[in-house]
């Protein structure tokens, strides 16, 4: 009697895997990954998605999250894969999940999983970083100085202390443009950065810390960053759509 095992049959098997792209927008970009995971699991229950569960006394829903954007960074390209015990209409699933989440956490696309590892497709990210108070010229100069180096080691402050991170090696490309600020109308520099997915991940903050360290690039206010794409790195140095092999099963996964 002392050791109990769950009664009944094992949980039903997963019959369909679905890959979702979601966005973290506006004020909800301050959602941490843990926060999102809780909200997402509640949305799955609210939308009555027929989730697959692991066995045991504390069954866990079959969910795989892929490289999440840091807290405070918006994203148009976050990905998650879920396993279902019954096949469902994919668009209905997307819409139901989207409406079960708060505005600002939006399920943008849903695609039945094809063959090949989803995680292996996440080779790089495209970030857009707006720099309040920085001119395009100063940003260009800083970027040129940064790209000229082989390595730019910055210190990342973590809960457990300071950790050195090379912010240069993972960078594929940085381009600089500018646009007027929505509120003040002042020009602000905009960086489009393509970063290879490495461990530890190089984040927008690290890139800015590196620009500050090599060229003293200073800002008036915290930068606003958004991840525009995440997926396979193509030959031209661009970031592709990781869902396209699932949409078109004939296309082979990278």
């Amino acid at each position: 009697m002392a050791r109990r095992v769950p009664d009944g049959p094992p949980p039903p098997p997963v019959v369909q895997r679905v890959r979702l792209r979601y966005a973290k927008r506006g004020r909800l970009r301050f959602t941490s990954h843990r926060d999102f995971a809780r909200a997402f699991e509640r949305a799955l229950r609210r939308a009555e998605v027929p989730m697959g569960y692991s066995a045991g006394f504390s069954p866990h829903p079959k969910i795989s999250y892929l490289g999440a954007a840091p807290t405070g960074v918006a994203s148009e390209a976050e990905f998650v894969e879920i396993g279902l015990v019954r096949e469902v209409d994919i668009e209905e699933l997307r819409a139901a999940l989207d409406s079960a989440l708060p505005d600002g956490l939006d399920i943008v696309e849903a695609v039945p999983a094809g063959v090949g590892s989803f995680a292996d497709r996440m080779q790089a990210s495209a970030w857009r970083i707006e720099l309040p108070g920085a001119s395009a010229e100063s940003a260009e100069a800083a970027v040129a100085a940064f790209l000229a180096r082989d390595a730019v080691v910055i210190e990342r402050v973590t809960k457990t202390g300071r950790k050195p991170v090379d912010a240069r090696a993972a960078i594929v490309a940085i381009s600089v443009s500018s646009a007027p600020d929505g509120l003040s109308g002042a020009e602000r520099a905009i960086l489009d950065v393509v970063v290879r997915q490495v461990t530890p991940a190089v984040r927008p903050d690290d890139v800015l810390a590196a620009l500050r360290s090599v060229a003293g690039l200073a800002l008036d206010a915290p930068p606003v960053a958004v991840r525009l794409a995440q997926g396979p790195l193509d030959d031209a140095g661009g970031v592709g759509d990781p869902l396209s092999p699932d949409r078109d099963p004939l296309e082979t996964a990278p």
């Binding site: 002392a2 301050f30 809780r38 609210r46 405070g72 096949e87 469902v88 409406s99």
Partner: protein
């Protein structure tokens, strides 16, 4: 005129603070309304961090009740952590609501819910950040009416200087009365200014306006009298009691936070009030009579709430949930209904009997049996008679052994230390009990892998209880007894190994005691502590006993009649005017006194749900009555309708 959002100014600061998500709002089931669409604007505050304040049921209920009205809106605000507070001061950003990020100073009313007195310094911080004058006497028509509610509002005297009004008891209905009065007064062009508005509120008899009462003192420091200082103001202010809980199924759509909070579950209040009569328990005394929600009403709230939130756990709340007249049916009905849906059910289990284990087994039918909690509260049978929490040691051991035998691995036992008449021996019996629990548990379980955690809190005498006259034990006495207890638990190495002991040191309890039974003279101490940097007093990393002790010494002075000790460790006489005597919880002071004498004589009091009325005074004074089942109804096997989303249809 619309009130603009502060979010554009706040947003650039958020990347610099910890857990910024707590300040952005946008929770599932949150509301925002256009400012100009309604005449009455409430800001509702829980004076602690978001992670503690968001799950608070009182705030969630009022938030929904107000927002359902066509003529009012409610937004929420919480205490901001020191990192953001510093940035807000640097950048001139006011205390804001998390819903539409409006400045709190722009609202007509600021309602603050005090579950504990340790939130008082956070009230001052919020008022100051909102640019609302700290002292009610310095406010004018441009400032919100500051309303205190919650259990601590049954003695709001220590914060009388800082609040405009206090409301006692259930808020669902009185919040509507206040809204009506404010709306009509505004519609009439604010006749007579703030003063007239306060008089109109006071004239209802159910809203306490401290400034309309004068307190006089005797030379020895005791209160001489508390008297109204103007017409249209009642001698005593009465608490509010909502009858028929089924008519108030709130919160209907509980808030679902993005940030992690202290209670990650949906709560359904299955009854309000308690007549067990535990003499230390303020909640049980001030929330009488018992009013049950019906089994069908509970079933609907659970079904609707789960559909609206997606929470995976439902907590059935009340002061003693196993006492619901149909709890067995409720447990079985819900367990049947949600079997296989990955919905967990929980019940704060405090009663120590076999029935409770049956319930817990039902709730964990096919889940993990991790921990059970029981609250004997007093270490010895003598002491349990004093506090009127009757459970014999044999019953407890038998019950707990049964639990271990049925697969539960961990049992938590709650006790208090510093109870009236308590001696070292009473507390040392806890060690004996814990050892016996482990011994019996090992035998019942057939293995040694079990744990018993003894959790001990310092007793704080509270207003409107039979112990309101009692001397609080000093921190030295409490700490010393707990040291001896720890030694006694560990004296038996084999058994003590499986016993954990958790306790807090006695100093915070003494400050809680000062704030619980204090009078208006304590307000200056709170203000001094806050000015000296005190806040978040419920958090050990922020609480500073020396800061409170020094402030009390400075405010009360060496020569004065009162002191920190005078307010806390002094036993009161029967004829003393207590600071809250003019606030009517329904309980007869004479009955409370008799019950106090019964406590000292170690006589027990029965529960009026099952024995004749013992005239505590509440029902006769307030015109209320006990509302208990059984109704005889049962829960249908299928969830009630009311889902907001249709089930996903299979792919064709």
């Amino acid at each position: 005129m619309p009130v603009a959002s502060l979010f554009p100014e706040l947003e650039p600061l958020l990347p610099r603070v910890s857990k910024p998500i707590q300040y952005v709002g946008g929770e599932l089931n949150a509301h925002t309304k256009d400012w100009d669409s309604v005449p009455v604007h409430w800001a509702l505050m829980y004076p602690d961090a978001y992670e503690v304040g968001l799950p608070n049921q009182g705030v969630q209920i009022l938030y929904e009740v107000i927002n359902e009205r066509a003529d009012a809106l409610a937004e929420r605000t919480y205490a901001v952590w020191p990192d953001l507070e510093a940035l807000m001061r640097e950048h001139g950003i006011s205390q804001f609501t998390v819903d539409a990020h409006r400045p709190v100073g722009a609202f007509d009313l600021l309602g603050v819910s005090f579950s504990t007195e340790l939130g008082y310094t956070n009230l001052l911080a919020a008022l100051d950040l909102a640019a609302i004058p700290l002292h009610a006497r310095d406010r004018d028509e441009s400032h919100p009416i500051v309303v205190a509610g919650g259990h601590a509002a049954f003695n709001p005297e220590p914060i009388a200087d800082f609040i405009d009004v206090a409301v006692l008891g259930d808020g669902e209905q009185v919040v509507g009365t206040i809204t009506d009065i404010v709306r009509d007064w505004k519609a009439a062009g604010c006749p007579g200014g703030r003063d007239e508005l306060l008089v109109r509120l006071a004239a209802t008899g159910g809203v306490y306006v401290p400034s309309f009462y004068d307190v006089t003192y005797l030379a020895d420091g005791r209160i001489e009298a508390v008297r109204p200082n103007r017409d249209r103001v009642p001698e005593r202010v009465t608490k509010h009691t909502v009858m028929n809980l089924d008519e108030w199924p709130y919160p209907k759509t509980p808030l679902v936070p993005l940030a992690e909070t202290v209670h990650e579950r949906m709560s359904v209040e299955i009854f309000r009030g308690c007549t067990r009569g535990c003499r230390f328990c303020q909640a049980g005394m001030i929330t009488r009579p018992v009013r049950e929600r019906s089994i069908t009403g509970i079933g609907e709230m659970v079904a609707n709430g789960l559909a609206a939130t997606g929470f995976e756990e439902v907590g059935l709340l009340s002061l003693s949930s196993a006492d619901h007249s149909e709890i067995g049916e409720i447990a079985k009905g819900l367990a049947d209904r949600y079997e296989g849906e990955k919905v967990g059910l929980s019940l704060p289990s405090t009663r120590v009997d076999a029935f409770n284990i049956d319930l817990a087994n039902e709730f964990s039918r096919n889940g993990r049996r991790s921990g059970l909690t029981f609250a004997p509260e007093g270490g010895s049978e003598r002491l349990r008679r004093v506090i009127n929490k009757m459970v014999s040691k044999d019953d407890l051991i038998r019950t707990v052994a049964t639990a271990y035998g049925q697969g539960w691995r961990q049992v938590k036992l709650y006790f208090m230390c510093g109870l009236p008449t308590e001696t070292d021996d009473d507390v040392l019996e806890i060690a004996e009990m814990a050892h016996d629990v482990i011994r019996a548990g090992r035998e019942a379980a057939g293995h040694k892998d079990i744990r018993c955690t003894v959790s001990i809190g310092g007793f704080v005498p509270k207003p409107h209880t039979p112990f309101q006259w009692a001397a609080q034990a000093s921190p030295e006495v409490v700490d010393n007894r707990l040291r001896k207890l720890r030694a006694a638990i560990n004296a038996n190495k084999s058994l003590g190994r499986n016993v954990g002991m958790r306790y807090h040191d006695g100093e915070p309890s003494l400050v809680e005691g000062l704030l619980s039974r204090g009078d208006r003279r304590v307000g200056a101490v709170i203000e001094r502590v806050w000015r000296d940097g005190g806040h978040f007093d419920g958090w050990s990393e922020h609480f500073s006993f020396p800061r409170w002790a020094t402030a009390a010494d400075e405010v009360f002075g060496a020569a004065g009649p009162v002191s920190l000790a005078w307010y806390t460790t002094r036993e009161r006489d029967g004829d003393e005017v207590l600071p809250w005597d003019h606030l009517d919880s329904g309980l007869d002071k004479q009955w409370l006194w008799d019950d106090w004498q019964d406590a000292l004589g170690e006589f027990e009091q029965d529960d009026c749900r099952w024995t004749p009325c013992f005239d505590c005074g509440v029902c006769s004074n307030l015109g209320t009555d006990i509302q208990v089942g059984p109704t005889g109804a049962s829960l249908a096997p299928q969830p009630a309708p009311g889902r907001t989303l249709l089930p996903l249809t299979p792919k064709v």
